[in-house]
Symmetry: C2
Subunit: 256 residues, 2 copies
C-alpha cells in the first residue's frame, strides 16, 4: 500500500481537479466519497481506479479494504483527505471511479427524461426514486446537473450503480422513442394538460420532467404524445420537482 | 417611515435573536425573508409587526409597501439587512411576523403527522406537498425541525399560511384521532406492512411519516391502525422521506 502525506502531491493535485465537470470529462473519472457509496460501487462492478483512506479509515474498514486490489490502495493523511473532500467532516474514505461510457440502444421499460433540472439534490433524488420505482434508466438532457458531481452522487445514494444514466439530446431522443411506439409524456403546471390519474399504465413509457423554475421547455412539450398535470387540491402554487417526479413515477410503477 | 442604519441598533439586535428557536418562542414572532413570502403572509391575514426594507427594495416594491401600515415600515441599510439575513444575497425585504397560537379541535379531513423529521428542507417540502394535496393540516411531533426557522419557511413557499401547522404529542394525538374514528396509518420500510396501493381512500385520514434515518418510532408504529409500505421495485434501499410523503399523500388526495 502506498502512502501520500502532502496535499500538494501531484496525484492529489490532479484528483482535486475532479471537482470540476471539465476535468471529470477530460480524465474520464470521478471522486466518490464515503464507505457506503464506495462499497456499493464495488459491489455493482464499477472500476475503482484508486481507493484513498486515512489511518482511521483503515482501522474501520480494514477487512473490506483487504479484499480490494492492494495496488489501488493509498493511505493518505487527514490533510490530504480534507483537501479532496467537500464535506465539513470527511468520512476518511474516497474512491476514484472510472466513468462508464453507456450506450443505450434499448429504451424499453420505463424511462425518466430530465430537461435542465439544475439542482444537484433534485437530480439525485429523482435518480434514486427512479431506481425505487423500477424504472429502466434516466436520460439527462443538456443543462442538467452533472450526475458525477459529489452532491448528486451523495443524493443518488448509489442508485447510479443500479440503473443506466445517459446524456442525451432530448429533441432527438423523443422522436426516436415515439418511432419505437413508446409513449412520451411531458409534465406541465397547466390545468389543460391531462390529470395523471387518468393516464393508462403501460409497460413502456418515457416521463419528461423539467427545470425547477421554468418547467419543461415549450419546444419539447410540443413534441410529446401529450402532457400530464398533477392536480393541486389546495392553495400551493406548485410541487417540488423531485416530489412531483415521485408521484408520477409511482403512478407508472409496478406490474400492469 | 422610520430608518435604521446601524446593525448594532437595539431593535435589530433583538430581531437577530429570532434565528434561534428559543427566542422565537420567547418573543412569539419570527423573521420572514423575501417579497414573495412577505406578500403571501399579508394576503393570508398574518400580522406583520414590522417590515424592514432596503432603499433598493423600496423602489422595487414601493406600490405594495405603500398599501401596508406606515407605522410598521422601517427603511434599513444594506448592512442591517445583511446582519439579519441568512442568505448570501439578501433580497432586500424582511418581515417580523407574529406567531399564531393555533388550537385545533377539528381533525377531520386529511392530516399529515410528522415524527422527528429533522431536515428543514424535508419538513418544508412535506408541508408544501400537504397543501398541494389538499390536506387539512400538518401536526408536528416533538423533535421536528421548527417550522418558523428561515430554512423551513423558505422551503414551505408560503404553504404555512394556507393550512394549520400544530405542535403535538403524537403519542397523545394518535389515540384521540382513533377515538374520533379517524384511521391513523404509520409508514415503515417493511415488506410485512401493507402496500399503500391496497389501502382504501377515505375522507378522514392521518398519515404518519418518520425520521430520515430511523423512520417512525416503534412506540408509535405499535399504536397506529396499521402501517403502510411503499413497494421498492428496483434496487434502491429506500426513498427520500419527502418523496415518500408525496406519493402517499397523493394516493389519499382528491375526491372519493
Amino acid at each position: 500500500m502506498k502512502e501520500i502525506q502532502a496535499s500538494k502531491n501531484p496525484l492529489i493535485k490532479e484528483l482535486r481537479k475532479l471537482h470540476q465537470k471539465k476535468h471529470r470529462e477530460e480524465q474520464g473519472r470521478y471522486l466518490l466519497e464515503g464507505f457506503h457509496l464506495v462499497e456499493e460501487a464495488a459491489r455493482w462492478g464499477e472500476t475503482l481506479e484508486l481507493i484513498l483512506v486515512t489511518q482511521r479509515g483503515l482501522r474501520e474498514w480494514g477487512s473490506w479494504l483487504a479484499r480490494q486490489g492492494e495496488e489501488s490502495l493509498y493511505q493518505v493523511s487527514d490533510e490530504v483527505m480534507r483537501s479532496l473532500s467537500d464535506l465539513p467532516t470527511p468520512q476518511g474514505i474516497m474512491a476514484v471511479v472510472s466513468k462508464k461510457t453507456q450506450i443505450i440502444t434499448d429504451f424499453s421499460g420505463r424511462w425518466l427524461l430530465l430537461d435542465r433540472v439544475q439542482d444537484p439534490g433534485n437530480v439525485g433524488t429523482m435518480v434514486r426514486t427512479a431506481d425505487a420505482a423500477g424504472f429502466a434508466g434516466v436520460a439527462l438532457g443538456t443543462g442538467c446537473a452533472d450526475p458525477y458531481s459529489t452532491k448528486v452522487l451523495r443524493s443518488m445514494q448509489g442508485s447510479n450503480f443500479h440503473l443506466p444514466l445517459v446524456n442525451v439530446q432530448l429533441e432527438q431522443l423523443i422522436p426516436q422513442l415515439q418511432q419505437l411506439s413508446i409513449p412520451v409524456y411531458g409534465t406541465e403546471l397547466n390545468v389543460d394538460a391531462k390529470p395523471f390519474q387518468e393516464v393508462k399504465v403501460t409497460a413502456d413509457v418515457a416521463l419528461l420532467m423539467g427545470n425547477e423554475g421554468q418547467g419543461v421547455a415549450k419546444d419539447l412539450l410540443n413534441i410529446t404524445d401529450f402532457n400530464l398535470y398533477i392536480p393541486i387540491y389546495g392553495k400551493a402554487e406548485s410541487l417540488n420537482v423531485g416530489v412531483a417526479a415521485g408521484i408520477l413515477m409511482y403512478h407508472f410503477a409496478g406490474s400492469l
